[in-house]
């Protein structure tokens, strides 16, 4: 203050705009670096996604084909009566079949010798299948019937490159000499790879018959479960969120409910499984292994997800819309249902589809209510499925297959994953279409 002399403030040195100063350079470098991190993160993610997809497709696609033996077989009535009169009836059918096969090979000029045991190793016990067919269709006697018999899992593996000559050790399952026969049959066009429809439409088989295993029954099981989940958790979840978000008073009690809903979303799914077992099956005596019960359990699991996302999207609707509606004399409920809910619909649908996708892939709770390792009723001629009929679900079925000893089941597990992903993508596509429609309307 007493200092009278004023020192002039030196004006800052002029810096050219065309040249970045060190500080700017540093900032720009940081920005660049950050962008590279982002790109790197995306690249890593994409890489793993591609690896995953390629490995799933590579391991899973073989499940959709199956080596089959196609033979025209004629059984006369005399042969039928003769076979039925014997003690070992299926053995008789087996020998007829072998004779036909031998004849067929000779006709085509192929000179391969084989014994009955080789045929059994390649095709399994064919006699039983034949007998069953002719006993059910006696009118087919005397006429040529074209049979497509699935080859054993090792022969199937040989076709798919899973079993190689070099690695094969003679055993009661398959021998080197059998492969010669298979090659000859393949050249003659008697054995070939065909689309395995049974895998897509059929039901699970027993542990000893990987060729007959299909995922169809559990696709239907999963579908029923998803219906139950959708029709329970969507209305209940949306109603609960609307009440909590728009109507409920803010107090300790609603705070407690809110915290509990958030916590519920993080409860391990196996806990829901135990709950389902205790409440739905042991207490309410609902049928075991039924999609209805599975759906109920998964609906409980999905509820928190739907409630949380619905509340978030209700919150995101600007309050001015509510005020506008109230301002023209709409009741609170009219304001919510005419204006707020339609605007929140895309968000609600997104939450629902995430919840459903989660439920679709859930295995643990299903283990506890018995929806696992189940051969549907009616096998092998199809299956019986309904909301209360015992069934399995896709992820549980995949889990069952992955745990089985035969390598063919391993391949089925991968194939099942492909089906599961297709199911999931279809669900997502439907949700996206619905969301688009809602967005366009408003």
């Amino acid at each position: 203050m007493t200092d009278a002399t004023i020192t002039p403030v030196p004006s800052p040195p002029k810096t050219p705009l065309t040249e970045a100063d060190p500080r700017t350079k540093k900032r720009n470098a940081a920005e660049k670096r950050f962008q590279y991190y982002g790109i790197a993160a995306i690249a890593v993610g994409l890489f793993f996604l591609i690896v995953l997809m390629v490995s799933i497709v590579r391991s899973g696609l073989p499940a959709f084909t199956q080596a089959v033996v196609s033979v025209d077989f004629t059984l006369t009535e005399e042969q039928y009566d003769e076979a039925e009169a014997q003690l070992f009836k299926t053995a008789a059918y087996q020998s007829y079949f072998n004779a036909v096969l031998r004849e067929e090979l000779r006709e085509r000029g192929l000179d391969v010798d084989f014994d009955e045991a080789a045929i059994e190793r390649i095709l399994g016990k064919t006699g039983g299948t034949l007998r069953e067919f002719f006993r059910a269709n006696e009118d087919q006697l005397g006429q040529p019937v074209s049979f497509e018999l699935s080859a054993s899992s090792r022969v199937d593996g040989y076709f798919k490159g899973r079993v190689t000559r070099e690695a094969l050790q003679d055993s009661r399952f398959l021998q080197q000499s059998d492969l010669d026969l298979v090659d000859a049959l393949a050249d003659a066009g008697i054995v070939f790879s065909a689309l395995n429809w049974n895998f897509i439409t059929g039901a699970d088989s027993g542990v000893d018959n990987p060729g007959g295993a299909g995922i169809g029954a559990s696709v239907v099981g999963s579908f029923f479960m998803m219906l139950v989940v959708l029709f329970l958790s969507l209305p209940i979840g949306v109603a609960a969120s609307i009440y909590l978000e728009e109507f409920a008073p803010q107090n300790k009690f609603t705070d407690l409910i809110e915290v509990n809903i958030s916590n519920l979303a993080a409860v391990p799914s196996i806990v829901f499984g135990i709950l389902g077992l205790a409440v739905f099956i042991q207490f309410m005596h609902l049928p075991q292994s039924a999609p209805l019960v599975g759906g109920l359990v998964l609906a409980l699991m999905t509820l928190p997800t739907i409630i949380i996302s619905t509340r978030a999207s209700l919150k995101a609707v600007p309050p001015s819309i509510r005020e506008a509606a109230l301002g023209v004399g709409a009741s609170k409920m009219q304001a919510v249902f005419h204006h707020v809910l339609p605007l929140a619909m895309p968000g609600i649908l997104t939450g629902t589809i995430i919840g459903l996708a989660q439920a679709l892939g859930e295995t643990a709770p299903l283990l506890l209510i018995g929806m696992v390792g189940f051969v549907a009723r009616g096998y092998p001629d199809g299956f019986v499925a309904g909301f209360t009929d015992p069934n399995s679900a896709m992820p549980a079925q995949i889990y069952t297959w992955a745990a089985r000893a035969d390598v063919s089941f391993y391949e089925k597990a991968w194939g099942g994953i492909i089906i599961l992903l297709v199911f999931l993508l279809t669900m997502n596509a439907i949700a996206i279409i619905l969301r688009r429609r809602f967005e366009r309307r408003w």
């Binding site: 600007p318 819309i321 005020e323 506008a324």
Partner: protein, 265 residues
């Protein structure tokens, strides 16, 4: 020049439409409105002015019970509409709001067509028996909102696609569609440019033929231009209430004078 006009304005005593007596509003522990008594005239424009946070919007929202939607708000005192206490337990706020319409600070048309925006109120109140009647109400309301000529060819297009000023006039049209008796306007021009503001002000002047209009505004010029009565709020108190001309030229309270001359606020 403007001031001249205000002085020359004739003062005619009119019926009291809304009578508020000793109104107190609390937001939790905050005492937002302190013992306010005011009589709002029918078929006139009443302006609430005052610095930000003085409680003028809060008081406005008491008049159609919009504060009911805020959990922590508590209202004491008496507000009567044509002699009926609007905070009586038997009064349904929904019915009240049909009589006391509201236009908000930010234009808030529904994300629906222009037609549906205006038709929504009459529909939920059952004011029309058929489509033709509804069409008539919509046209009448849009005309009163001074926006008919601009939108008559595109009634099916979304109301959110209009310009800010048009949206606000649409909101006014929506508010008058339910045939209210009082129209509350909470800073209706604060988000608009001068030209749109002028259009709205002209509209407000028109509306007072039919309704009792209450307008909250930050702009003293606007209050001076459109209103017959002005109330000055400060920190939750109603400092002064009287003829607009009187308030702006010859305020009685020193705080009013400070505010209108720009020394506080």
């Amino acid at each position: 020049m403007d001031d001249q006009r205000i002085i020359e304005r004739t003062t005619v005593m009119k019926d009291i439409k809304i009578a508020a007596t000793n109104v107190n509003v609390f937001y939790g522990d905050t005492h937002a409105i302190k013992d306010v008594s005011v009589g709002i005239e029918d078929k006139a424009v009443t302006a609430f002015i005052g610095p930000s946070g003085c409680g003028k919007s809060t008081f406005l929202r008491c008049l159609n019970r919009m504060n009911d939607t805020i959990d922590i708000a508590r209202i004491e005192g008496k507000i009567e509409l044509d002699g009926e206490d609007i905070y009586d337990k038997r009064v349904d706020p929904v019915q009240l709001r049909a009589k006391v319409g509201m236009v908000f600070q930010k234009p808030n048309p529904f994300p629906k067509s222009i037609y549906d925006n205006v038709a929504y109120g009459p529909r939920i109140h059952g004011l029309s028996r058929n489509k033709a009647e509804l069409d008539e109400i919509v046209e009448k309301s849009l005309r009163r909102g001074a926006i008919w000529n601009e939108v008559k060819d595109r009634l099916d297009q979304p109301g959110t696609g209009l310009s800010g000023g048009q949206q606000q006039r649409l909101c006014i049209a929506r508010a008058v569609a339910t045939e209210p008796e009082v129209l509350l306007m909470d800073e209706p021009c604060s988000a608009l440019d001068p030209i749109a503001t002028a259009q709205i002000e002209e509209l407000i002047d028109d509306l007072k033929q039919r309704y009792s209009v209450v307008i909250v505004t930050h702009s003293m010029q606007q209050a001076a231009r459109v209103s017959q009565k002005t109330a000055f709020f400060h920190l939750g108190d109603l400092v002064e209430y009287g003829e607009t001309g009187h308030i702006f030229t010859n305020p009685e309270d020193s705080r009013t004078e400070s505010y209108i001359t720009g020394r506080i606020g």
